[in-house]
């Protein structure tokens, strides 16, 4: 990673959309999800899958992964354990509340 402040600032701005989506997913998981109880046939649940994928892969790829997962979660699906694809060497760090920030150590 680079230490150039401009590049850093740019990268931080680039993280804004995914953090907005993460915040929305948090609200969904805290407020709407409990209304319906456990319904998902997979582990992690679709919303947890969505949260992790967006955190790891961003809004576009994470969103696409989530849409595909939702399409898989129908009553005739076998279900089971289904983790989002892991991203190795992520340049970002996850805060305690699940938001994505630049890695300080870099």
């Amino acid at each position: 990673m680079t230490d150039q402040p401009l590049v850093r600032a740019f990268r931080l701005v680039a993280l804004v959309p995914r953090n907005i989506v993460v915040a929305l997913l948090h609200v969904y998981r805290a407020v709407i999800s409990p209304l319906y109880g456990d319904v998902c046939r997979y582990y992690p649940s679709c919303s947890a899958y969505g949260l992790t994928s967006v955190q790891q892969h961003g809004v576009v790829r994470g969103g696409w992964l989530t849409v595909r997962r939702l399409a898989r979660c129908h009553p005739w699906a076998a279900g089971g354990v289904d983790d989002p694809p892991a991203r190795e060497h992520s340049p970002y760090r996850l805060t305690r509340f699940g938001f994505i920030v630049l890695d300080r150590k870099a």
Binding site: L35, R41, S45, H74, P75, W76, A78, G79, G80, V81
Partner: protein
């Protein structure tokens, strides 16, 4: 590009909703109800709920079948639960969920209904919201709702005083709208609360009740009224009414399931067994443990198996061979 992204997404859904509403509306007017009357439109919304929930019945039936199959895997499920008994940290919980899911998959059964019903309901909810808003604002409808019908729908009122398209926020001092919205919020909170409480208090195994997830759920249960107060303020009465009727449907459905097909090991399961035993006693029937499975009611053979721990695995195999 006047529709925008969400408008385009909602368009087909709105079309279907309008078709269903208009269909019920013409049936009801055919039955002698007044076309512009509030009741007619309110009942059309009930019709919409019935259509949507009836479509979801196959999903529901599948869930019941899965739940019955759960009895077969209950010994293995119990093994997992025993393994993690008393371990309440996040990692153990996660490992337990993973193992449980793998078990379901291995046996081709899953007691959970999947996210599909939810995904189906949400667009319909927002679609109805949008149809109602358009109708109230006098905007063009997307499909079968003609301008006349749309105007009727928009101004149709509950009890002749509270237009369906109004919200608490846009009521403009219309006391009837505010009162009805508050009543709907209370009724919705009540029905949702009862449904959740039914599931949580009666249909969960003791292991589940000790988990941190359960406690979290319980706290959230008490936050529900806030959610509904919020929605009461911003959703039009017609949408609230749809939600409420759908909630009632869920409640009744849940009640039937919990009564007749409870989760093994839960309070409801014990209550059901007690009820069945009482019934048998009344009829003077012998204990199901020494009865052959052929002559008894549909659910009872399952119980017979449960009370024979020694030969359970063998009985299961034999059952499978029998082509059940």
């Amino acid at each position: 590009m006047e529709l925008g992204f969400f408008g385009t997404l909602l368009w087909p859904i709105k079309w279907v909703i309008e078709a269903i509403l208009v269909g019920f509306h013409s049936l009801l007017t055919l039955a002698g109800l007044e076309s512009a009357a509030g009741v007619t439109w309110v009942l059309s919304i009930v019709g919409l709920v019935i259509v949507i929930r009836a479509l979801l019945i196959p999903v529901f039936v599948r869930q019941i079948k899965s739940q019955r199959k759960m009895l077969e895997i209950s010994p293995e499920l119990k093994k997992i639960q025993d393994k993690y008994r008393g371990k309440k940290d996040q990692f153990s919980r996660e490992a337990m969920s993973r193992e449980t899911m793998n078990l379901y998959k291995k046996h081709g059964t899953n007691p959970l209904s999947s996210c599909f019903p939810l995904l189906l309901q949400m667009p319909i909810f927002f679609g109805l919201f949008s149809v109602l808003n358009d109708a109230y604002a006098g905007r063009d409808s997307v499909g079968l709702l003609t301008p006349e019908l749309s105007a009727e729908f928009g101004s149709a009122s509950l009890f002749g005083v509270a237009p369906l398209g109004l919200t608490m926020a846009t009521s403009d001092g219309n006391v009837a709208v505010i009162i009805i919205a508050i009543v709907l919020v209370i009724l919705m909170t009540g029905s949702q609360f009862l449904t959740q409480l039914q599931i949580m208090a009666k249909n969960q195994s003791p292991e589940m009740k000790n988990s941190p997830m359960y406690r979290q759920q319980k706290i959230l249960l008490y936050l529900l009224p806030l959610v509904f107060v919020f929605s009461g303020a911003f959703f039009p009465l017609g949408v609230m009414f749809y939600w409420f009727v759908s909630n009632i449907w869920t409640m009744v459905q849940q009640f039937i399931v919990i009564r007749n097909m409870p989760t093994p090991g839960s309070e409801a399961a014990l209550a059901r067994e007690a009820r069945l035993a009482k019934k048998r006693q009344k009829k003077g029937l012998p204990d199901p443990a020494d009865e052959a499975s052929g002559s008894v009611a549909v659910e009872e053979p399952i119980k017979t198996q449960r009370q024979q721990p020694v030969s359970k695995s063998r009985a299961k195999k034999q059952n499978k061979k029998g082509g059940r």
